[in-house]
Symmetry: C2
Subunit: 600 residues, 2 copies
């Protein structure tokens, strides 16, 4: 039986002991998590994930979604009741503004819960997740009338939302979209075209679905500067919110996918459907990107989440399954074999999973703190610093956490041997579900290009220079502490790799932009390891402080120090290899032509 | 539509220009591939794979196998006819001895074809593949009567074979098996027990199935020293080969797996089934390992194969799909967007796939050459040297080729973006199918332990020292050639990492064997990169010689030089990171207890 327990104690350690969230209580953005509220919400959220969502994770994957002849879609058994429970708990209102019925909680709490929800049931949690994305887009660019009409009903879970960007011939390059929006006499638009890969494009969980659709108005520029955003409800909506007639949008088919099978990924056909412009004409992409950046942080947490649930099951199996004997002699001589936990190569995979999941959790939370501070800090300087850091971290969190989540899930499946390959234990599902996180909301290669092509150079490289200074200061402070010195020294070496790689890019990308492209993924992975290493240094220091004070769970704190050392010893060396790769540039990489790739 | 074309030209380049196979023509082991035979067989085999096996790859995955109420199993549509074609082509007789109706071809040819077959249809090719494994086990330890009765009918494809090792509670640790073999008055045994994960455990392709089963006789030692091997036919066999009554072995269920879905993975229940001892009592495991070592080389080629077919589809998609513009300005201004082939990060994935697949192909073929020379070389010295090298290379080929095959398949899926995640294009299947190769025939962790725990130290480290001398000589010879010097220098650096890692293991594993276990996977990956790098140096040198002579396909040869450089620049740096990890030893890795892994 697969297991999952939300890691509340670890989340709280980072929020309370490392970030010292209580110290931010004076800022309005954190007002709603003051006192015991944080703990109460985390604990209650954990319970929901463990008891309601996780039990449907494997059965949902086994059953998948069903599209009926009339185009309607049914979600797997139990999803409707679970969604009802989810709604009633008010979980969708968590991060929405109070003005529209939300609870106005900070991003950082949303991220903590996002990990739990996604670990418990990624396919399920995408239904409310995409709805929140649609809400964010409406809040960012919609009219007051649109906000009042749609947002309260969406955050109550009465209606859902979807994001419609991709078309058969275009995904990353949205300038190519062909969906048309013809202005109508009443001020609405007639939307026609085909959108694909629409998560939750149809379902039986909500009364209505509010599709947010990118389309082009007549005469709009050909590029991404000619894209407008529209609201297209599944059922038309009267001014009082009552549902009207069925709109001309229908699910043509659902995709047969590698994973997240319980989420209906639809082809949506728009046949002159009634739509309403959101924000200004031709400015649709900008509004969409406000939402997308927040979503990218969330996808990072999803990558982590699949690593976490896989890790917990890997540990359980390694302690239960007996094969062979410890290299140092039988660990449990009274048994016929020792648990495979005793084998160093199994332990290596478990330790890597442990230090990566805990490190990535810290990274996701730290990134979300910047999102909160970027608008909620009390000085302009602090808001700008947080915004700079957030911009730099967003592509790193999205891509590094998802690449690592897939790596962890694959390793944990390996711990199970042949039993990991059959679907029975659920390990295959974690790998299959994790795989999408490296692709959607911008592939990880797109994230890497965003990092080296946009974020690094932005404002004269201010963000990365500030990060270097911050990391160097943390390292310098830690080097004097015997318990932290080794970790600090190893992190310093990796920081050196990042600085050298940055310098190399600055010196070589001007001459040939392909040098930046050729090194983008390597640079992102260097950065990911360094920022996660910095999280470990912060965690080690906090643990050391607590230990010295004799406070807290001594075993937990001592393990943090060991784990920090393991991360430094076993993950940080990867930065050196990435740096060496990056410094070879684009020449050899781009030397072959299409003909050279043909199998002769 | 998925594409696959067997890379015959690349195989031939390595066999003929790099290994200079014609120079071995005087050895009887290569007698049957003299003249044009090699080319003819490769070409004919390629045609079969492209035209018969590959068209059933995706449909077989979609449909899977069906177990009926009576326990019988049906393979997907088209498999029966394809198997008939496969049989009639004589492909199963390729590597079997002439004395039993085989063609006695060298291993190296078998490996070349194994890659094609597995790339075209892994699930299908496992049916004949496991049969050949069973044949190898019978040939290694069976009586003359058993060989004459079973082998000719198995290599003709009239009957199939399976390997029955795993039980629900044991896989790697076969000493724990519980299946019993009770001696009967007529000299046969009554076999009772449950075997799981039996590939091709039942099917509708052949008239009979010869199960090779590990079991324990009464009073046998508890450890792996008490295991005997039995032949248990699905239908009992008369002395003249005619089929008798149904034996008491049945398929209890088929597994629902992540991949290789068209291969029936069965739970087999033995209820006092009639079995016949193969070889000596309690010596079953030794015979099985003769077969297993050959199988491990084959699994390496399987890992490569999934990388190769994924690579070919990745290239095709990258040249077809248009998104965005080249960083250096529009490559095809008359089109609305450039093919994604122009993007450096896409090219990076394609180049890594190209140099890994070509390098791994060379490695698999070079390893198989050692298998041929180990018994077929003309001096005792040469046979011993080949056998040493084969022993060292076997775990490396199995684990490195499969880890890299999965990495390539995952990267090629990434090239497809969202279109890689849906099943339509087949990319998901290559990842899912590749995944098993890291697990079966001994997990890759088991291979790593075999390498550091057994192969490295064997005969005073003779094999690895001989490898160092051979690699150093190749590097020294290449350094003088301007076209090869950079590759040679980079390889020398990685060879240095391997030598240092070897030294570290020798100095630290004696004191604590967990230091060997903790570094095993890192060491295997260093070795994998170095031996594949050596293959690239050999290929580059051969290409350079041909180019200088103005012979051969100049474009193909020039690409080999670029690819060698890319491997040196972009893959070899990984050895440094692995070495640094390995040198941190087991202390931190083994420091935490089971309690520390509990989610608090």
């Amino acid at each position: 039986m697969p297991v999952y327990k939300a890691p509340v104690a670890d989340t709280r350690f980072f929020l309370e002991k490392v970030l010292n969230l209580p110290a931010y209580a004076h800022l309005p953005v954190f007002a709603n998590v003051a006192g015991d509220t944080l703990e109460a919400i985390l604990t209650e959220g954990a319970r929901l994930c463990e008891e309601v969502l996780f039990p449907l994770n494997k059965s949902g994957d086994d059953e998948g979604c069903t599209r009926h002849a009339d185009g309607s879609v049914t979600t797997p058994a139990g999803f409707k009741a679970a969604f009802q429970t989810y709604r009633e708990g008010g979980w969708m209102a968590m991060n929405a503004p109070e003005a529209y019925g939300g609870m106005d909680m900070p991003h950082i709490l949303g991220t903590a819960l996002e990990e739990y929800r996604m670990a418990a049931n990624q396919a399920f949690s995408m239904y409310p997740g995409l709805t929140m994305g649609a809400v964010a887009a409406i809040l960012a660019t919609g009219s007051e009338e649109q906000k009042s009409l749609y947002v309260p009903r969406m955050i109550s879970g009465e209606w859902a939302g979807t994001m419609n960007l991709t078309e058969p011939h275009c995904g990353t390059d949205l300038g190519l979209i062909r969906t048309r929006a013809e202005p109508q006499a009443d001020g609405s638009y007639a939307i026609s075209g085909t959108k694909i890969f629409i998560s939750g494009g149809d379902q039986d969980l909500t009364e209505n679905i509010i599709h947010l659709v990118l389309a082009k108005t007549p005469g709009a520029p050909e590029s991404s500067k000619g894209i407008s955003l529209f609201i297209v409800p599944k059922f038309l909506v009267h001014a009082d919110g009552a549902l009207g007639e069925r709109n001309a949008v229908s699910c043509g088919s659902i995709e047969h996918k590698m994973g997240i099978r319980a989420n209906a990924t639809c082809v949506l056909n728009y046949d002159g459907a009634t739509g309403y412009l959101v924000g200004e004409e031709n400015k649709g992409l900008a509004g969409m990107f406000v939402m997308m950046n927040a979503a990218r942080l969330g996808v990072g947490a999803q990558g982590l989440s699949q690593g976490e649930v896989a890790y917990q099951n890997g540990v359980a199996y390694a302690l239960d399954r007996r094969q062979g004997r410890a290299l140092t002699g039988p660990a449990e001589p009274e048994q016929k074999a020792d648990p495979i936990f005793v084998h160093p190569d199994v332990r290596r995979m478990l330790m890597e999973a442990k230090v990566l999941t805990e490190g990535l959790r810290a990274l996701c939370l730290w990134g979300s703190l910047q999102a909160d501070l970027a608008h909620g800090a009390d000085t302009e300087e602090a808001r700008t610093a947080a915004d700079d850091l957030l911009g730099l971290l967003t592509p790193v969190i999205k891509a590094y956490c998802t690449d690592m989540g897939y790596r962890i899930a694959t390793d944990m499946q390996q711990v199970f041997g042949g039993h990991g390959y059959i679907e029975e234990h659920g390990m295959s599902q974690y790998v299959r579900d994790a795989r999408i996180t490296m692709i959607y909301e911008g592939t990880n290669g797109v994230q890497a290009m965003d990092l080296v092509g946009r974020k690094l150079a932005s404002k004269g490289g201010r963000a990365v220079q500030a990060f270097f200074a911050m990391a160097a200061a943390e390292i310098a402070a830690a080097k004097g502490d015997e318990a932290l010195a080794d970790v600090a020294t190893r992190l310093e070496k990796s920081l050196g790799d990042m600085q050298a790689a940055t310098m190399w890019l600055m010196q070589n990308a001007m001459a040939n932009p392909e040098n930046a492209g050729a090194g983008a993924t390597a640079y992102l992975h260097i950065t990911g390891a360094v920022v996660t290493g910095l999280m470990w240094l912060k965690m080690a220091r906090a643990a050391q402080t607590e230990l010295a004070a004799g406070a807290g769970d001594q075993r937990f704190l001592a393990a943090k120090l060991v784990s920090a050392r393991f991360f430094a010893e076993r993950i940080l060396p990867e930065t050196g290899a990435h740096r060496r790769k990056l410094e070879t540039g684009a020449a050899t990489l781009m030397a072959l032509t299409a003909e050279d790739f043909a199998t002769a």
